[in-house]
């Protein structure tokens, strides 16, 4: 009886999980499907799910009309660059906050997080004007800096919680075992911190990759990322759902693949500290 009950519950849970999963994934799935339809099928009513004339036409048109590789390259540089720069700043910051906290550490962390509570559009004008003055408008460097700043509080917080989980006694043990500061860092701390740093890097790349507000507002032709590439297909002269979908699919594919291969790291990173 009890076993039957748990089995039934398991089945129900599985069905529920799959339903929720599919519901969340559906927009992405629909986008991918639509990208293989003709413009006519894309707006057909009732919608055609799988039985339509599959075509690669949209992809070739998108490829012809705009330079996908340039946008991709911009995205890679901007997401990668802002992450790298952020990590270089955040690791020492989180490190000192976790291992040599002062009376104000908590306040500083809170203050950093509070910058995320302001809607981004609130600082658009000042930043836009600064960008004009500094000649950073529509440059990769400008976006690397802005996206790094936008995500910095999150990476510092994430790394801080990671480093906090490293027991101080292990570092003391290393000191007792005769490790110099250098060996302590090299043989004990870094190996224990690497999983945390890796998940932080991954999450930050995804956040930077998908960032649209700043990339749309601060770039034009030169430094546009894949989000700008997608946006260029929601044109005012008409709805081209299929082409827009093809562009979107091309834009999200790299990050989707990266996320797929590193999902274990990612899930661990996102639930770290919450689940012991």
């Amino acid at each position: 009886m009890a076993r039957a009950a748990t089995n039934r519950r398991k089945t129900i849970n599985t069905i529920l999980a799959w339903s929720v999963g599919l519901l969340i994934f559906f927009p992405i799935l629909w986008t991918i499907l639509t990208s293989f339809k003709t413009e006519g099928d894309a707006i057909a009513y009732p919608p055609k799910f799988l039985f339509f004339d599959w075509t690669l036409e949209n992809y070739s048109i998108v490829q012809e009309r705009s330079n996908y590789m340039r946008y991709l390259w911009n995205s890679v540089i901007i997401a990668g660059g802002s992450t790298l720069l952020g990590i270089i700043i955040a690791v020492p910051a989180a490190w000192s906050m976790a291992f040599v906290p002062s009376k104000r550490t908590k306040d500083i962390l809170m203050w950093m997080l509070s910058t995320k509570m302001l809607p981004a559009v609130g600082v658009l004008y000042p930043i836009y004007l600064m960008f004009i003055k500094l000649g950073l408008l529509d440059t990769r460097l400008g976006l690397v800096i802005v996206l790094m700043l936008i995500n910095l509080p999150i990476i510092v917080w994430m790394l801080y919680t990671y480093f906090k989980e490293i027991p101080a006694e292990i570092l003391e043990a290393a000191r007792m075992d005769g490790a110099s500061l250098k060996s302590e860092l090299l043989y004990v701390l870094t190996p224990m911190a690497i999983p945390g740093i890796a998940s932080t890097i991954l999450l930050n790349i995804i956040l930077a990759w998908n960032e649209a507000f700043w990339t749309l507002n601060l770039t034009a032709a030169k430094a546009g990322t894949l989000t700008a590439f997608i946006a260029s297909y929601s044109s005012p002269e008409g709805l081209f759902y299929a082409k827009l979908s093809a562009a979107s699919t091309m834009a999200i594919a790299p990050i989707l693949i990266l996320g797929w291969f590193s999902q274990k790291q990612l899930v661990r990173g996102l639930t770290f500290g919450a689940v012991k």
Partner: protein, 333 residues
């Protein structure tokens, strides 16, 4: 060699004086136990000796050399932590070899020492495992292995058995005692468990509120406690402490008698009614409500046929009474 001398060692965290001033001499090869209730400063004292905390005033000498400001790595001491503090990303072999690697020892010699330590500690079959794949007792052995390979001048143990279950604790206790007998190295052991202190120590240091209450061999502390605190802390069940007219009649403020030194006899001078009776088989612990004397604990050997509500007469054994003055100090002679 492992002679450690503390001279007026003080430690304050801000305005809180955790250790107001301690003088202590630990001789080479001694097994010294720091014991006291939680928050008494025993772990802090150990960490001061280890160098993991800076001392606020005073000096620490190891083998006659001033070590007050030496970093932990330079003191030649090894420590076993309460949480074991193993390196989770290294195999057991690498954990044990770590201090040797840090000392820049020749790999062949490292290997020889690790194998030797693994033999002593029954870890030979686990050398390739990670700490996460070991049981609590095995982890504790790895932590001890990591300490012994260095051949330190002294071992420091910070409540090493408190995370183990009762049965394992007893066997690890014996293993550590045997280790001490074979290595003959100075060991300083911190615990809040007076049974561990009594069974393992050559010398017990009883600490309370950052002060040393008494230093002595286990049986000295048991037979001649210097004050009420030590009297109450050492021995299980606790010594009965009686105040009031009965104490005054013996010319003291507090009269102490251990539960095992109270005989149940028809001609006993104190009368009481049995409250709780705990039957352990080998012993019986009786809580006797003795009116003005308060509740007295009596330890009777073997099985006694007394139950709740029975009236008993108690006689303290000759020469086993402890007398303490107003300040809790022992009155001798």
């Amino acid at each position: 060699m492992g002679k450690i001398t503390l001279q007026s060692v003080r430690k304050s965290f801000g305005d809180v004086h955790v250790i107001p001033g301690i003088d202590l001499e630990i001789n080479d090869g001694e097994f010294v136990v720091f014991v006291g209730p939680s928050g008494c400063g025993k772990s802090t004292l150990l960490r001061l000796i280890a160098g993991l905390e800076d001392i606020s005033a005073g000096s620490i000498a190891i083998d006659g050399l001033d070590a007050t400001h030496l970093p932990p790595a330079k003191r030649g001491l090894a420590m076993v932590f309460q949480s074991y503090a193993l390196y989770p990303h290294m195999s057991v072999r690498k954990n044990i070899a770590f201090p040797l690697k840090m000392a820049g020892m020749d790999p062949a010699e490292q290997e020889r020492r690790v194998t030797h330590a693994a033999n002593i500690l029954n870890l030979t079959n686990y050398l390739e495992r990670r700490p996460g794949q070991l049981s609590g007792g095995q982890r504790q052995r790895v932590a001890i292995g990591r300490a012994i390979v260095r051949e330190p001048s002294a071992f420091l143990f910070d409540e090493p058995l408190s995370n183990l279950d009762a049965a394992l604790r007893v066997s690890m206790r014996q293993e550590i005692s045997e280790l001490h007998q074979s290595l003959k190295t100075t060991m300083i052991y911190v615990t809040h468990d007076q049974v561990e202190a009594m069974t393992m120590a050559d010398k017990i240091v009883v600490l309370n509120a950052g002060r040393i209450e008494q230093v002595g061999s286990p049986l000295t502390l048991y037979h001649q406690p210097d004050n009420v605190f030590v009297a109450g802390f050492i021995g299980s069940p606790k010594m009965n402490l009686i105040t009031g007219p009965t104490a005054a009649a013996h010319g003291c403020h507090t009269l102490g008698i251990r539960p095992e030194h109270l005989d149940i006899r028809a001609d006993g001078i104190w009368e009481g009614r049995v409250g709780l009776a705990e039957h352990l088989g080998s012993d019986t612990f009786l809580k006797v409500d003795a009116g003005a004397l308060g509740t007295l604990t009596v330890r009777a050997t073997g099985e006694v046929g007394l139950r709740h509500g029975d009236v008993v007469r108690l006689a303290p054994q000759e020469g086993r009474l402890h007398r303490f003055d107003q300040d809790g100090k022992a009155i001798r002679g």
